[in-house]
Amino acid sequence: MAVLLVYFLSRKYRVLAVDADPDSNLADALGIEGYKTLGEIRELFQHSRDDFGTMSKESWLKGKIYGEVIFEADDFDVLIMGRPEGEGCYCFTNNMLRAILRKLMRHYDVVVVDCEAGLEHISRKTIDSADVILVVTDASRKGFKTASRIRELAKELGLKAKMYLIANKVREGEENVITRYAKSEGFRLLDILPYDEEVAKADLKGLPIPLDCRVAKKVEKLAGVLICEANP
């Protein structure tokens, strides 16, 4: 889903794809390797910062991110967050990271952040400057429950982002369940993406998703809709 969005958006816009899931699914799905994660660089910094003499720490950190973490694909850039912080105090490091990333992000037209399924990124407000938050669920009770909780949390925290529901991997006959759930919760349902044999196969073989499959076509349309939603 996120992969396809990145592909289609990057045809028209400057895109930064951020993988905020410690399992780094997005990197695999995009077929990129040979990158370092932000987490790795952060640890390297924590362990070598006593040896910088009169050198600038911020400049060192930024150089590593721009030079070694950001992966330049043909049409877009990718940033993998990697593992969360280890032991120790990260006040100083994270302060610098935030400043560096904030300055980096404003030079892209679109930043797509692929979050881990769950509440972590919402509760830690790591995505509080998002324009649009897409909550992706399948047609399961567990998926619905999480979606509802994400929505409540976002409300509690006063996030300004527009929030939409997208149903993914939906088999025939399940559409009703989704629409009923969305209606009862007052969730704006943006689209229902069908379960696609082709996507599942590509995923198993570790191949990129074919851009002409049914799901891809739908996401392409979605990309257009989202751009309008984010820039009213």
Partner: protein
Amino acid sequence: MERKKIDVKAIKKDVKEKVSVGEEDFPFDISPMYEGERIRKGEMYVELGGPKQPGFELVVALPIDQVEDMKVTLLGSDLDELEEGQAHPYAMIYYVAGSQIDMDLEPVIERRNHDFQNFIEGYMHLNQRYDIWVRIGKNAIDKGLRSLTQIAKATMMLFKNEMPFIEKIEALYITDGEIVEKLLKEYAMPIYEERDARIEALHDEDVDEFYSCTLCQSFAPTNVCIISPDRPSLCGAITWFDGRAAARVDPEGPNRAVPKGELIDPIGGEYTGVNEFAKEESGGEYTRIKLHSFFEYPHTSCGCFEVIGFYMPEVDGIGWVHRGYAEPAPNGLTFSTMAGQTGGGKQIVGFLGVGIGYFRSKKFIQADGGWYRVVWMPKELKQRVEKFIPDDMRDKIATEDEAKTIEELKEFLKRVNHPVVTGVVRPVDGKKITEGWVEERRVEEKVVEKAEVEEAPQVPTPSVSISPMPGIRLVIKNANIYIDKIVLRRKKEGEKS
């Protein structure tokens, strides 16, 4: 090391030279808005320095009569002659002068080249010193950028605007590979090395001001981190030099200059300026701080410290444990338990939070014996700081391999004849500060009459005058204790308590 201007005529050979003096208008935008811009491979016109070509940047302080203001000299090919899409060698040397400028300010100014050049539209500057990596975007060329002399002038203009103490500035830019490599090796490297060596050798007494850090005051409101050449921040992130550079850029920011004032205690590291600052910043909570003392007015501990020191009265020595060691220390407490008691910006006698960098300090808890009072640290931590431990102490400090409990530690210390056993002589002034263990001291029946303590007592500097009592620690705070009579009686055999 004396600073000299590079003799361009002597190294020039048959390389092209372009000279331009004075202000000019720029065809590109200059604004902080462009900071962070990342020029992708496909968008770049040329790459300068970076992983494929040599490059460096250097700021050199010179006497004012040797610097020709706003002059730039370019040695080698200019932008229109450099092959598009390729990487090329690049050196940027700035001569600066001003009544407040000396060699020590060079690296503070040099760091800003990165910031200022990134204000230039279509120009990306990464890294520092000999790692610089620059990309110039096609968009800048389209806008009318023609020469590196324009880049040099824009940068010099920003230097003068943002750092008004720079009275004169001159630039030498080089794109000729041979010259870049030669100057990097013979001119720039010795200066970089000298700077780092100077910082390493710099002590509290060599400077006029220290720096504060209040980055973590949101967690520890009364914490006052004082960063001196001999004492980095507790979190390990900020050195005196970092503080200095930050305070120069943003004097009202989280790192502020703290004038030292009068020296009150040279061994403990107490200064009037630091005391005044501490009083003000902690809201009157603390009025005295000794930078290099463990027991007397120690530095406050935030929550960020990398290592915590703990006093063990049973052996009259100090142990240290770092955040990564999850087991209990010989005193039976884990890092997190001790950190919970100490953190939050409190001044607690018997515990002290420090950054790992403090183990490098020549003044490392010097008032209390320094390394000669250290009895235990986890193996991982000991290995990390091993080269800073004096040779004669290296084998006398136990790790978890030798001792996990106080009893094991006692055995070990006795076996290696650790200074705490016979009494610690602190190296700084040769004074004997502990008496050593008094073996098997018999506690005879004693009657102490009319011991009276009027004021809230200072927790005394622990030494062996406190008899070793395993398992008991008394923390008394803000207490007034009046005692008319204390009777200590040894329990007789078979007597029930």
